[in-house]
Protein backbone atom coordinates (compact mmCIF):
# COMPACT_ATOMS: atom_id res chain seq x y z
CA UNK A 1 0.00 0.00 0.00
CA UNK A 2 1.18 3.49 -0.69
CA UNK A 3 2.18 5.90 2.02
CA UNK A 4 -0.23 8.63 0.85
CA UNK A 5 -3.28 8.69 3.04
CA UNK A 6 -6.18 7.52 0.95
CA UNK A 7 -9.44 8.63 2.59
CA UNK A 8 -11.46 6.39 0.26
CA UNK A 9 -9.73 3.19 1.27
CA UNK A 10 -11.53 1.45 4.15
CA UNK A 11 -9.84 -0.43 6.95
CA UNK A 12 -10.88 -4.04 7.13
CA UNK A 13 -12.60 -5.05 10.33
CA UNK A 14 -14.32 -8.12 11.74
CA UNK A 15 -17.84 -8.20 13.09
CA UNK A 16 -17.32 -9.76 16.51
CA UNK A 17 -20.89 -9.57 17.74
CA UNK A 18 -24.34 -8.88 16.32
CA UNK A 19 -27.21 -7.82 18.57
CA UNK A 20 -30.86 -7.89 17.47
CA UNK A 21 -32.18 -4.64 18.89
CA UNK A 22 -35.65 -4.54 17.31
CA UNK A 23 -37.36 -6.41 14.46
CA UNK A 24 -35.56 -4.13 11.94
CA UNK A 25 -32.51 -2.81 13.81
CA UNK A 26 -29.30 -4.71 14.48
CA UNK A 27 -26.14 -3.55 16.22
CA UNK A 28 -22.73 -4.62 14.97
CA UNK A 29 -19.63 -4.63 17.12
CA UNK A 30 -16.57 -4.27 14.92
CA UNK A 31 -12.85 -4.64 15.60
CA UNK A 32 -10.28 -3.48 13.05
CA UNK A 33 -8.14 -6.38 11.88
CA UNK A 34 -4.92 -4.40 12.19
CA UNK A 35 -4.25 -4.43 15.97
CA UNK A 36 -2.02 -1.35 15.73
CA UNK A 37 -4.78 0.62 13.98
CA UNK A 38 -7.37 -0.57 16.50
CA UNK A 39 -5.14 0.43 19.39
CA UNK A 40 -4.49 3.88 17.96
CA UNK A 41 -8.05 4.52 16.84
CA UNK A 42 -9.44 7.69 18.38
CA UNK A 43 -12.68 9.53 17.84
CA UNK A 44 -15.08 11.93 19.53
CA UNK A 45 -18.67 11.18 20.59
CA UNK A 46 -21.03 11.92 17.70
CA UNK A 47 -18.60 11.14 14.90
CA UNK A 48 -19.71 8.72 12.23
CA UNK A 49 -18.21 6.03 10.06
CA UNK A 50 -18.85 4.58 6.64
CA UNK A 51 -19.40 0.83 6.70
CA UNK A 52 -18.53 -1.01 3.49
CA UNK A 53 -19.75 -4.27 2.12
CA UNK A 54 -17.55 -4.82 -0.88
CA UNK A 55 -19.65 -5.46 -3.94
CA UNK A 56 -22.65 -3.71 -2.41
CA UNK A 57 -21.46 -0.31 -1.23
CA UNK A 58 -21.13 2.01 1.73
CA UNK A 59 -23.49 3.58 4.17
CA UNK A 60 -23.06 6.06 7.05
CA UNK A 61 -23.67 5.24 10.71
CA UNK A 62 -22.79 6.93 13.95
CA UNK A 63 -20.24 5.14 16.13
CA UNK A 64 -22.57 4.50 19.06
CA UNK A 65 -20.07 3.04 21.50
CA UNK A 66 -18.23 5.77 23.40
CA UNK A 67 -14.51 6.61 23.08
CA UNK A 68 -14.22 5.65 26.74
CA UNK A 69 -14.90 1.99 25.82
CA UNK A 70 -12.57 1.02 23.03
CA UNK A 71 -12.84 -2.79 22.93
CA UNK A 72 -14.85 -2.48 19.73
CA UNK A 73 -16.76 0.07 17.65
CA UNK A 74 -20.51 -0.35 17.63
CA UNK A 75 -22.85 0.66 14.81
CA UNK A 76 -26.62 0.22 14.73
CA UNK A 77 -28.27 -0.38 11.41
CA UNK A 78 -31.94 -0.03 10.51
CA UNK A 79 -32.90 -2.08 7.50
CA UNK A 80 -33.98 0.38 4.79
CA UNK A 81 -31.99 0.32 1.55
CA UNK A 82 -29.67 -1.98 -0.32
CA UNK A 83 -26.59 -1.64 1.88
CA UNK A 84 -28.48 -1.84 5.17
CA UNK A 85 -30.36 -4.94 4.01
CA UNK A 86 -27.06 -6.59 3.06
CA UNK A 87 -25.59 -5.61 6.44
CA UNK A 88 -28.48 -7.40 8.12
CA UNK A 89 -27.37 -10.60 6.35
CA UNK A 90 -23.94 -10.52 8.01
CA UNK A 91 -22.86 -13.18 10.49
CA UNK A 92 -20.42 -12.86 13.38
CA UNK A 93 -16.88 -13.29 12.06
CA UNK A 94 -17.64 -11.63 8.71
CA UNK A 95 -15.34 -8.98 7.28
CA UNK A 96 -16.46 -5.42 6.80
CA UNK A 97 -14.86 -2.15 5.62
CA UNK A 98 -14.71 0.84 7.96
CA UNK A 99 -13.89 4.46 7.12
CA UNK A 100 -13.95 6.39 10.37
CA UNK A 101 -14.04 8.69 12.19
CA UNK A 102 -15.78 11.23 9.96
CA UNK A 103 -17.59 14.48 10.71
CA UNK A 104 -17.87 16.67 13.79
CA UNK A 105 -19.00 15.77 17.31
CA UNK A 106 -21.08 16.84 20.26
CA UNK A 107 -19.60 19.92 21.97
CA UNK A 108 -19.38 18.06 25.27
CA UNK A 109 -16.65 20.31 26.66
CA UNK A 110 -19.22 23.12 26.76
CA UNK A 111 -21.73 20.87 28.50
CA UNK A 112 -19.63 20.25 31.58
CA UNK A 113 -21.35 21.27 34.77
CA UNK A 114 -24.72 21.60 33.02
CA UNK A 115 -27.95 19.61 33.28
CA UNK A 116 -28.25 17.36 30.26
CA UNK A 117 -31.56 16.51 28.60
CA UNK A 118 -31.55 13.74 25.98
CA UNK A 119 -34.62 13.37 23.79
CA UNK A 120 -34.60 10.43 21.41
CA UNK A 121 -36.97 8.51 19.17
CA UNK A 122 -36.46 5.06 17.63
CA UNK A 123 -33.00 4.55 16.16
CA UNK A 124 -32.33 8.21 17.00
CA UNK A 125 -31.08 6.94 20.35
CA UNK A 126 -27.91 5.67 18.61
CA UNK A 127 -25.94 8.95 18.55
CA UNK A 128 -27.32 9.84 21.98
CA UNK A 129 -26.14 6.48 23.34
CA UNK A 130 -22.53 7.40 22.57
CA UNK A 131 -22.80 10.61 24.53
CA UNK A 132 -24.86 9.10 27.35
CA UNK A 133 -22.28 6.35 27.96
CA UNK A 134 -19.45 8.85 27.57
CA UNK A 135 -21.01 11.10 30.21
CA UNK A 136 -21.86 8.23 32.53
CA UNK A 137 -18.21 7.14 32.33
CA UNK A 138 -17.27 10.64 33.57
CA UNK A 139 -20.40 11.18 35.61
CA UNK A 140 -18.97 13.79 37.97
CA UNK A 141 -18.37 16.27 35.12
CA UNK A 142 -22.07 16.75 34.40
CA UNK A 143 -25.18 17.82 36.32
CA UNK A 144 -28.55 16.02 36.24
CA UNK A 145 -29.02 13.68 33.29
CA UNK A 146 -32.56 13.18 31.99
CA UNK A 147 -33.32 10.83 29.11
CA UNK A 148 -36.68 10.87 27.36
CA UNK A 149 -36.86 8.05 24.88
CA UNK A 150 -39.73 6.67 22.89
CA UNK A 151 -40.59 4.33 20.07
CA UNK A 152 -43.69 3.09 18.31
CA UNK A 153 -44.02 -0.05 20.45
CA UNK A 154 -41.98 -1.57 23.29
CA UNK A 155 -40.39 -3.93 20.73
CA UNK A 156 -39.06 -0.96 18.79
CA UNK A 157 -37.00 0.38 21.68
CA UNK A 158 -33.23 -0.03 21.10
CA UNK A 159 -30.58 -1.03 23.65
CA UNK A 160 -33.15 -2.62 25.98
CA UNK A 161 -30.56 -3.89 28.48
CA UNK A 162 -29.05 -0.45 28.88
CA UNK A 163 -32.45 1.22 29.16
CA UNK A 164 -33.06 -1.02 32.16
CA UNK A 165 -29.69 -0.16 33.67
CA UNK A 166 -30.30 3.54 33.22
CA UNK A 167 -33.76 3.22 34.79
CA UNK A 168 -32.18 1.60 37.82
CA UNK A 169 -29.46 4.22 38.26
CA UNK A 170 -30.22 6.90 40.81
CA UNK A 171 -28.16 9.47 38.91
CA UNK A 172 -30.18 9.19 35.71
CA UNK A 173 -33.77 10.29 35.25
CA UNK A 174 -35.01 7.83 32.61
CA UNK A 175 -38.40 8.35 30.99
CA UNK A 176 -39.64 5.78 28.50
CA UNK A 177 -42.70 6.08 26.32
CA UNK A 178 -44.42 4.26 23.47
CA UNK A 179 -46.81 5.79 20.96
CA UNK A 180 -49.85 3.65 21.87
CA UNK A 181 -51.08 1.37 24.66
CA UNK A 182 -49.43 -2.03 24.42
CA UNK A 183 -50.19 -5.25 26.35
CA UNK A 184 -47.78 -5.51 29.29
CA UNK A 185 -46.49 -1.93 28.97
CA UNK A 186 -46.87 -0.09 32.28
CA UNK A 187 -44.85 3.04 31.53
CA UNK A 188 -45.81 6.22 29.76
CA UNK A 189 -47.87 6.26 26.58
CA UNK A 190 -47.66 9.18 24.19
CA UNK A 191 -45.53 10.77 21.52
CA UNK A 192 -42.09 11.97 22.60
CA UNK A 193 -42.80 15.72 22.13
CA UNK A 194 -45.98 15.43 24.24
CA UNK A 195 -44.18 13.52 26.97
CA UNK A 196 -41.49 16.18 26.90
CA UNK A 197 -44.15 18.83 27.57
CA UNK A 198 -45.60 16.76 30.44
CA UNK A 199 -42.18 16.28 32.03
CA UNK A 200 -41.46 19.98 31.42
CA UNK A 201 -37.75 20.11 32.30
CA UNK A 202 -36.38 23.50 33.22
CA UNK A 203 -34.17 25.22 30.63
CA UNK A 204 -32.06 26.66 33.45
CA UNK A 205 -28.38 25.82 32.79
CA UNK A 206 -29.52 22.93 30.60
CA UNK A 207 -28.51 21.58 27.18
CA UNK A 208 -31.04 19.55 25.20
CA UNK A 209 -29.76 17.01 22.69
CA UNK A 210 -32.32 15.48 20.40
CA UNK A 211 -32.29 12.91 17.65
CA UNK A 212 -35.06 10.95 15.97
CA UNK A 213 -37.32 10.82 12.95
CA UNK A 214 -37.83 14.22 11.21
CA UNK A 215 -41.43 14.57 12.35
CA UNK A 216 -40.48 13.93 15.98
CA UNK A 217 -37.65 16.49 15.72
CA UNK A 218 -40.01 19.07 14.31
CA UNK A 219 -42.46 18.83 17.23
CA UNK A 220 -39.69 18.37 19.80
CA UNK A 221 -38.12 21.66 18.71
CA UNK A 222 -41.53 23.34 19.07
CA UNK A 223 -42.00 21.82 22.52
CA UNK A 224 -38.53 22.92 23.62
CA UNK A 225 -39.19 26.44 22.51
CA UNK A 226 -42.50 26.41 24.44
CA UNK A 227 -40.48 25.30 27.46
CA UNK A 228 -38.33 28.42 26.89
CA UNK A 229 -35.19 26.66 25.69
CA UNK A 230 -33.09 29.01 23.57
CA UNK A 231 -31.78 27.91 20.16
CA UNK A 232 -28.19 27.69 21.34
CA UNK A 233 -29.27 25.30 24.13
CA UNK A 234 -30.57 22.79 21.58
CA UNK A 235 -28.38 20.37 19.68
CA UNK A 236 -29.40 17.86 17.07
CA UNK A 237 -27.86 15.67 14.40
CA UNK A 238 -28.74 15.68 10.71
CA UNK A 239 -28.90 12.93 8.16
CA UNK A 240 -28.32 13.27 4.43
CA UNK A 241 -27.49 10.91 1.66
CA UNK A 242 -23.70 10.67 1.71
CA UNK A 243 -20.98 9.17 -0.42
CA UNK A 244 -17.47 10.46 0.18
CA UNK A 245 -17.93 11.49 3.82
CA UNK A 246 -15.12 14.05 3.54
CA UNK A 247 -16.78 17.10 1.99
CA UNK A 248 -15.67 16.47 -1.60
CA UNK A 249 -18.31 14.63 -3.61
CA UNK A 250 -20.79 17.49 -3.23
CA UNK A 251 -23.77 15.36 -2.30
CA UNK A 252 -24.73 16.38 1.21
CA UNK A 253 -24.75 20.17 1.18
CA UNK A 254 -27.27 22.48 2.74
CA UNK A 255 -26.14 25.81 1.37
CA UNK A 256 -22.48 26.17 2.24
CA UNK A 257 -22.48 23.37 4.83
CA UNK A 258 -21.56 19.79 4.05
CA UNK A 259 -23.35 17.58 6.55
CA UNK A 260 -20.66 14.89 6.27
CA UNK A 261 -17.86 17.20 7.28
CA UNK A 262 -19.37 20.29 8.95
CA UNK A 263 -21.98 18.04 10.64
CA UNK A 264 -23.71 15.82 11.55
CA UNK A 265 -24.00 17.71 14.86
CA UNK A 266 -25.56 21.19 14.70
CA UNK A 267 -27.01 23.57 17.24
CA UNK A 268 -30.42 24.95 16.43
CA UNK A 269 -28.79 28.38 16.10
CA UNK A 270 -26.57 27.03 13.32
CA UNK A 271 -29.47 25.24 11.62
CA UNK A 272 -31.54 28.40 11.57
CA UNK A 273 -28.80 30.13 9.61
CA UNK A 274 -28.92 27.53 6.84
CA UNK A 275 -31.33 27.59 3.91
CA UNK A 276 -34.45 25.52 4.58
CA UNK A 277 -33.54 22.37 2.68
CA UNK A 278 -33.86 19.38 5.01
Amino acid sequence: MSSIHNPYLPEIGTVIKIIDETPNIKSFQVVLNNPEKMKNFTFEPGQVGQLSLFGVGESTFVINSPPTRMDYLQFSVMKAGEVTSALHELAEGDQIGVRAPLGNWFPYAQMKGKQILFIGGGIGLAPLRTLILFMLDQRADYGDITIIYGARTPNDLCYKDELKEWEERSDVNMILTVDNEFPGWDKRVGLVPNVLKEVAPSPENTVAITCGPPIMIKFTLQALSELKFKDDQIITTLEKRMKCGIGICGRCNIGTMYVCKDGPVFSLTQLNELPAEL
Partner: protein
Protein backbone atom coordinates in the same frame (compact mmCIF):
# COMPACT_ATOMS: atom_id res chain seq x y z
CA UNK B 1 17.05 31.74 -22.37
CA UNK B 2 14.39 34.28 -23.31
CA UNK B 3 11.42 34.38 -20.97
CA UNK B 4 8.87 34.27 -23.78
CA UNK B 5 8.89 32.31 -27.01
CA UNK B 6 7.47 32.13 -30.50
CA UNK B 7 6.62 29.04 -32.48
CA UNK B 8 5.78 29.19 -36.20
CA UNK B 9 2.52 27.33 -36.90
CA UNK B 10 4.18 24.73 -39.11
CA UNK B 11 6.31 23.63 -36.12
CA UNK B 12 3.39 22.85 -33.86
CA UNK B 13 3.10 19.15 -34.86
CA UNK B 14 6.84 18.75 -34.28
CA UNK B 15 6.50 20.23 -30.79
CA UNK B 16 3.63 17.91 -29.92
CA UNK B 17 5.55 14.92 -31.25
CA UNK B 18 8.58 15.87 -29.17
CA UNK B 19 6.42 16.28 -26.06
CA UNK B 20 4.68 12.96 -26.74
CA UNK B 21 7.97 11.18 -26.14
CA UNK B 22 7.96 12.26 -22.50
CA UNK B 23 4.29 12.85 -21.72
CA UNK B 24 0.86 11.54 -22.46
CA UNK B 25 -0.28 14.52 -24.54
CA UNK B 26 -3.96 15.33 -24.88
CA UNK B 27 -5.02 17.87 -27.48
CA UNK B 28 -8.32 19.03 -29.02
CA UNK B 29 -9.03 17.11 -32.21
CA UNK B 30 -11.98 17.07 -34.55
CA UNK B 31 -14.11 13.93 -34.18
CA UNK B 32 -16.94 14.11 -36.70
CA UNK B 33 -18.62 17.36 -35.80
CA UNK B 34 -17.32 17.71 -32.27
CA UNK B 35 -14.00 18.77 -30.83
CA UNK B 36 -12.70 16.51 -28.07
CA UNK B 37 -9.49 16.21 -26.10
CA UNK B 38 -7.79 13.03 -27.27
CA UNK B 39 -4.43 11.39 -26.89
CA UNK B 40 -2.28 13.10 -29.52
CA UNK B 41 -0.96 10.93 -32.32
CA UNK B 42 1.12 12.16 -35.27
CA UNK B 43 -1.16 13.10 -38.15
CA UNK B 44 -4.13 13.98 -35.89
CA UNK B 45 -6.27 16.93 -37.05
CA UNK B 46 -5.89 19.46 -34.28
CA UNK B 47 -8.76 21.87 -33.89
CA UNK B 48 -7.71 25.07 -32.17
CA UNK B 49 -10.25 27.40 -33.77
CA UNK B 50 -13.03 26.87 -31.22
CA UNK B 51 -13.24 25.58 -27.65
CA UNK B 52 -13.65 21.81 -27.35
CA UNK B 53 -17.21 20.60 -26.81
CA UNK B 54 -16.15 18.83 -23.63
CA UNK B 55 -13.67 20.54 -21.33
CA UNK B 56 -10.46 18.62 -20.54
CA UNK B 57 -11.56 17.97 -16.93
CA UNK B 58 -11.80 14.21 -17.55
CA UNK B 59 -8.05 14.01 -18.05
CA UNK B 60 -7.48 14.82 -14.39
CA UNK B 61 -10.88 13.74 -13.08
CA UNK B 62 -12.00 10.82 -15.26
CA UNK B 63 -15.70 10.37 -15.93
CA UNK B 64 -15.33 7.00 -14.25
CA UNK B 65 -12.33 5.59 -12.39
CA UNK B 66 -11.45 2.72 -10.09
CA UNK B 67 -10.74 3.76 -6.51
CA UNK B 68 -9.54 0.30 -5.54
CA UNK B 69 -9.95 -3.37 -6.33
CA UNK B 70 -11.22 -5.88 -3.81
CA UNK B 71 -10.63 -9.55 -3.80
CA UNK B 72 -12.16 -12.26 -1.61
CA UNK B 73 -9.78 -15.16 -1.13
CA UNK B 74 -10.61 -18.56 0.25
CA UNK B 75 -8.30 -19.71 3.00
CA UNK B 76 -6.62 -22.94 1.71
CA UNK B 77 -6.40 -24.24 5.31
CA UNK B 78 -10.01 -23.58 6.14
CA UNK B 79 -12.25 -23.27 3.07
CA UNK B 80 -15.05 -21.76 5.16
CA UNK B 81 -12.91 -18.73 5.85
CA UNK B 82 -12.37 -15.97 3.33
CA UNK B 83 -9.95 -13.12 3.58
CA UNK B 84 -10.32 -9.79 1.91
CA UNK B 85 -7.70 -7.85 0.05
CA UNK B 86 -7.93 -4.24 -1.13
CA UNK B 87 -5.62 -2.80 -3.77
CA UNK B 88 -5.43 0.86 -4.77
CA UNK B 89 -3.56 2.23 -7.75
CA UNK B 90 -2.09 5.68 -7.24
CA UNK B 91 0.47 5.66 -10.03
CA UNK B 92 -0.12 8.31 -12.64
CA UNK B 93 1.77 9.18 -15.79
CA UNK B 94 3.22 12.60 -16.67
CA UNK B 95 0.59 14.29 -18.80
CA UNK B 96 0.14 17.41 -20.88
CA UNK B 97 -3.15 19.07 -21.63
CA UNK B 98 -2.44 21.05 -24.78
CA UNK B 99 -4.80 23.69 -26.11
CA UNK B 100 -6.97 24.08 -23.04
CA UNK B 101 -8.84 27.39 -22.92
CA UNK B 102 -8.35 29.79 -20.00
CA UNK B 103 -11.80 28.89 -18.63
CA UNK B 104 -11.00 25.17 -18.82
CA UNK B 105 -7.80 25.65 -16.86
CA UNK B 106 -9.70 27.80 -14.35
CA UNK B 107 -12.00 24.84 -13.80
CA UNK B 108 -9.13 22.97 -12.16
CA UNK B 109 -8.56 25.91 -9.81
CA UNK B 110 -12.17 25.54 -8.68
CA UNK B 111 -11.49 21.85 -8.06
CA UNK B 112 -8.22 22.53 -6.23
CA UNK B 113 -9.90 24.27 -3.30
CA UNK B 114 -12.20 21.30 -2.74
CA UNK B 115 -9.92 18.41 -3.71
CA UNK B 116 -6.48 19.60 -2.57
CA UNK B 117 -6.77 22.46 -0.14
CA UNK B 118 -8.42 20.36 2.58
CA UNK B 119 -7.20 18.12 5.37
CA UNK B 120 -8.38 15.06 3.45
CA UNK B 121 -6.91 15.70 0.01
CA UNK B 122 -8.14 13.46 -2.78
CA UNK B 123 -5.13 11.30 -3.71
CA UNK B 124 -6.37 10.45 -7.21
CA UNK B 125 -6.98 14.05 -8.18
CA UNK B 126 -3.78 15.17 -6.48
CA UNK B 127 -1.69 12.52 -8.23
CA UNK B 128 -2.93 13.44 -11.69
CA UNK B 129 -3.01 17.16 -11.07
CA UNK B 130 0.61 17.26 -9.92
CA UNK B 131 1.75 15.26 -12.93
CA UNK B 132 -0.15 17.34 -15.45
CA UNK B 133 1.11 20.42 -17.27
CA UNK B 134 -1.54 22.66 -18.77
CA UNK B 135 -0.76 24.57 -21.95
CA UNK B 136 -3.53 27.07 -22.56
CA UNK B 137 -4.47 28.88 -25.72
CA UNK B 138 -5.81 32.40 -25.14
CA UNK B 139 -9.06 32.85 -27.04
CA UNK B 140 -8.94 34.98 -30.16
CA UNK B 141 -12.70 35.41 -30.30
CA UNK B 142 -15.51 34.64 -27.84
CA UNK B 143 -17.86 31.77 -28.73
CA UNK B 144 -21.63 32.14 -28.48
CA UNK B 145 -22.58 32.02 -24.80
CA UNK B 146 -19.16 32.93 -23.40
CA UNK B 147 -19.26 35.32 -20.43
CA UNK B 148 -15.92 34.81 -18.67
CA UNK B 149 -15.34 38.51 -18.03
CA UNK B 150 -18.56 38.66 -16.00
CA UNK B 151 -17.31 36.10 -13.50
CA UNK B 152 -14.01 37.81 -12.81
CA UNK B 153 -12.02 35.96 -15.46
CA UNK B 154 -11.12 36.58 -19.07
CA UNK B 155 -10.09 35.16 -22.46
CA UNK B 156 -6.38 35.42 -21.59
CA UNK B 157 -6.58 34.65 -17.86
CA UNK B 158 -3.52 32.61 -16.91
CA UNK B 159 -4.40 31.42 -13.38
CA UNK B 160 -4.50 27.62 -13.48
CA UNK B 161 -2.30 27.36 -16.59
CA UNK B 162 1.39 26.46 -16.73
CA UNK B 163 2.13 27.83 -20.16
CA UNK B 164 0.07 30.41 -22.06
CA UNK B 165 -0.02 30.63 -25.83
CA UNK B 166 -1.55 33.31 -28.05
CA UNK B 167 -2.15 32.95 -31.78
CA UNK B 168 -0.50 35.81 -33.69
CA UNK B 169 -0.60 35.61 -37.47
CA UNK B 170 1.92 33.01 -38.59
CA UNK B 171 2.61 31.48 -35.21
CA UNK B 172 2.03 31.33 -31.49
CA UNK B 173 3.47 33.49 -28.74
CA UNK B 174 4.31 31.50 -25.58
CA UNK B 175 4.67 32.65 -22.02
CA UNK B 176 5.45 30.24 -19.16
CA UNK B 177 3.54 30.90 -15.94
CA UNK B 178 4.96 28.19 -13.66
CA UNK B 179 8.06 26.03 -13.26
CA UNK B 180 6.24 23.23 -15.06
CA UNK B 181 5.59 25.60 -17.95
CA UNK B 182 9.23 26.62 -18.09
CA UNK B 183 10.25 22.97 -18.45
CA UNK B 184 8.24 22.61 -21.66
CA UNK B 185 9.40 25.94 -22.89
CA UNK B 186 13.02 24.75 -22.89
CA UNK B 187 12.41 22.84 -26.14
CA UNK B 188 14.72 24.06 -28.89
CA UNK B 189 11.84 24.55 -31.35
CA UNK B 190 10.94 27.84 -29.66
CA UNK B 191 12.30 31.11 -31.03
CA UNK B 192 12.74 34.22 -28.90
CA UNK B 193 9.32 35.78 -28.32
CA UNK B 194 10.18 39.17 -26.86
CA UNK B 195 9.32 40.99 -30.11
CA UNK B 196 5.71 39.69 -29.89
CA UNK B 197 4.88 40.46 -26.29
CA UNK B 198 3.17 43.78 -26.94
CA UNK B 199 1.20 42.39 -29.87
CA UNK B 200 -0.08 39.55 -27.66
CA UNK B 201 -1.09 42.02 -24.96
CA UNK B 202 -3.10 44.04 -27.50
CA UNK B 203 -4.79 40.90 -28.81
CA UNK B 204 -5.84 39.97 -25.25
CA UNK B 205 -7.38 43.37 -24.66
CA UNK B 206 -9.22 43.33 -28.00
CA UNK B 207 -10.81 39.92 -27.34
CA UNK B 208 -11.63 40.74 -23.76
CA UNK B 209 -13.72 43.70 -24.91
CA UNK B 210 -15.73 41.44 -27.25
CA UNK B 211 -16.97 39.05 -24.54
CA UNK B 212 -20.63 39.62 -23.72
CA UNK B 213 -21.46 40.77 -20.19
CA UNK B 214 -24.79 39.49 -18.94
CA UNK B 215 -24.14 41.16 -15.60
CA UNK B 216 -21.78 43.95 -14.72
CA UNK B 217 -20.96 43.17 -11.12
CA UNK B 218 -21.50 40.20 -8.85
CA UNK B 219 -21.19 41.97 -5.55
CA UNK B 220 -24.03 40.99 -3.24
CA UNK B 221 -25.12 38.12 -5.51
CA UNK B 222 -24.33 35.30 -3.03
CA UNK B 223 -26.57 36.97 -0.42
CA UNK B 224 -29.22 37.83 -2.97
CA UNK B 225 -29.47 34.21 -4.09
CA UNK B 226 -29.79 33.06 -0.47
CA UNK B 227 -32.56 35.54 0.12
CA UNK B 228 -34.43 34.04 -2.85
CA UNK B 229 -34.01 30.50 -1.49
CA UNK B 230 -37.63 30.09 -0.43
CA UNK B 231 -39.08 31.96 -3.40
CA UNK B 232 -40.22 28.83 -5.29
CA UNK B 233 -42.17 30.95 -7.73
CA UNK B 234 -38.94 32.57 -8.93
CA UNK B 235 -37.14 29.24 -9.24
CA UNK B 236 -40.04 27.45 -10.87
CA UNK B 237 -40.17 30.19 -13.47
CA UNK B 238 -36.46 30.01 -14.18
CA UNK B 239 -36.56 26.21 -14.37
CA UNK B 240 -39.71 25.78 -16.44
CA UNK B 241 -37.82 24.64 -19.56
CA UNK B 242 -35.27 22.40 -17.80
CA UNK B 243 -35.67 18.65 -18.30
CA UNK B 244 -33.11 17.66 -15.62
CA UNK B 245 -30.92 15.95 -18.20
CA UNK B 246 -27.71 16.97 -16.42
CA UNK B 247 -25.86 17.84 -19.64
CA UNK B 248 -24.94 21.24 -18.20
CA UNK B 249 -23.05 19.67 -15.30
CA UNK B 250 -21.27 17.05 -17.40
CA UNK B 251 -20.05 19.74 -19.79
CA UNK B 252 -19.06 22.08 -16.98
CA UNK B 253 -15.32 22.51 -16.27
CA UNK B 254 -16.07 23.27 -12.61
CA UNK B 255 -18.72 20.66 -11.77
CA UNK B 256 -16.97 18.16 -9.58
CA UNK B 257 -19.63 15.99 -7.92
CA UNK B 258 -19.32 12.24 -8.01
CA UNK B 259 -20.98 9.00 -7.03
CA UNK B 260 -19.33 5.87 -5.65
CA UNK B 261 -20.53 2.41 -6.65
CA UNK B 262 -19.28 -1.18 -6.45
CA UNK B 263 -19.05 -3.67 -9.25
CA UNK B 264 -18.29 -7.30 -8.59
CA UNK B 265 -17.82 -10.37 -10.76
CA UNK B 266 -17.15 -13.66 -9.00
CA UNK B 267 -14.74 -13.17 -6.12
CA UNK B 268 -13.38 -9.81 -7.11
CA UNK B 269 -14.54 -6.39 -8.05
CA UNK B 270 -13.89 -2.72 -7.88
CA UNK B 271 -15.13 0.38 -6.15
CA UNK B 272 -15.69 3.00 -8.80
CA UNK B 273 -16.37 6.68 -8.76
CA UNK B 274 -18.19 8.38 -11.57
CA UNK B 275 -19.33 11.88 -12.34
CA UNK B 276 -22.67 12.68 -10.82
CA UNK B 277 -24.78 15.82 -10.81
CA UNK B 278 -27.10 17.73 -8.53
CA UNK B 279 -29.51 18.02 -11.46
CA UNK B 280 -30.53 14.38 -11.00
CA UNK B 281 -33.44 13.33 -8.78
CA UNK B 282 -31.41 10.47 -7.32
CA UNK B 283 -28.55 12.70 -6.21
CA UNK B 284 -30.11 13.46 -2.83
CA UNK B 285 -32.67 10.65 -2.62
CA UNK B 286 -32.41 9.01 0.81
CA UNK B 287 -32.98 5.37 1.71
CA UNK B 288 -36.15 6.39 3.54
CA UNK B 289 -37.42 7.72 0.13
CA UNK B 290 -37.28 11.25 1.50
CA UNK B 291 -35.74 13.66 -1.00
CA UNK B 292 -34.78 17.21 -0.02
CA UNK B 293 -34.61 18.13 -3.73
CA UNK B 294 -37.70 16.43 -5.00
CA UNK B 295 -38.52 19.02 -7.69
CA UNK B 296 -36.43 20.15 -10.61
CA UNK B 297 -36.50 23.80 -9.54
CA UNK B 298 -34.86 22.81 -6.24
CA UNK B 299 -32.10 21.10 -8.17
CA UNK B 300 -31.42 23.94 -10.60
CA UNK B 301 -31.50 26.28 -7.61
CA UNK B 302 -28.69 24.23 -6.10
CA UNK B 303 -26.64 24.42 -9.27
CA UNK B 304 -26.96 28.18 -9.50
CA UNK B 305 -26.61 28.51 -5.72
CA UNK B 306 -23.51 26.36 -5.52
CA UNK B 307 -21.70 28.26 -8.25
CA UNK B 308 -22.76 31.79 -7.39
CA UNK B 309 -23.48 31.70 -3.66
CA UNK B 310 -22.26 28.74 -1.59
CA UNK B 311 -18.84 28.28 -3.17
CA UNK B 312 -18.00 32.02 -3.16
CA UNK B 313 -19.14 32.26 0.46
CA UNK B 314 -16.88 29.37 1.37
CA UNK B 315 -13.87 30.42 -0.69
CA UNK B 316 -13.24 34.15 -0.39
CA UNK B 317 -15.68 35.28 -3.04
CA UNK B 318 -14.40 33.04 -5.85
CA UNK B 319 -17.24 32.17 -8.20
CA UNK B 320 -17.45 28.51 -9.15
CA UNK B 321 -18.36 29.32 -12.73
CA UNK B 322 -15.64 30.06 -15.26
CA UNK B 323 -17.96 31.56 -17.87
CA UNK B 324 -17.11 29.06 -20.62
CA UNK B 325 -20.72 29.12 -21.83
CA UNK B 326 -20.95 25.39 -22.61
CA UNK B 327 -24.08 24.87 -20.52
CA UNK B 328 -25.69 27.68 -22.50
CA UNK B 329 -24.50 26.50 -25.94
CA UNK B 330 -25.43 22.86 -25.45
CA UNK B 331 -28.48 22.83 -23.14
CA UNK B 332 -31.17 21.08 -25.21
CA UNK B 333 -33.79 23.43 -23.73
CA UNK B 334 -31.77 26.66 -23.95
CA UNK B 335 -31.62 27.27 -20.24
CA UNK B 336 -29.12 30.09 -19.66
CA UNK B 337 -27.43 30.27 -16.26
CA UNK B 338 -26.15 33.79 -16.91
CA UNK B 339 -29.73 34.94 -17.48
CA UNK B 340 -30.87 33.25 -14.27
CA UNK B 341 -28.18 35.07 -12.30
CA UNK B 342 -29.10 38.36 -13.97
CA UNK B 343 -32.80 37.76 -13.16
CA UNK B 344 -31.91 36.91 -9.55
CA UNK B 345 -29.91 40.10 -9.23
CA UNK B 346 -32.93 42.07 -10.44
CA UNK B 347 -35.55 40.11 -8.46
Amino acid sequence: MADTGFLPKENLPALLEALSKKFAVFAPVLDGEVVLFKRFAPGATLCLTRPANLPPKGIIFPQSETLFNFNFKKDPEDPKKTSLELKENLDFVPTIIFGSRPCDAQGFRIYDRVYLETDTADPYYKGRREKTTIITLACNAPSPGCFCTSVGRGPAESDGSDLMMTELGKGYFFEPMTEKGKEIFKDSLFEDGSAYKEQAQKAHERVSALVKKPFAILEGTPEKLLSLFENSQFWEGETAKCISCGACTYLCPTCYCFNITDEQVGNSGERIRSWDACMFFHFTLEASSHNPRQNKHQRLKNRVGHKFSYYPKKYQGVIACCGCGRCIRYCPMSVDISEIVAHAQGA
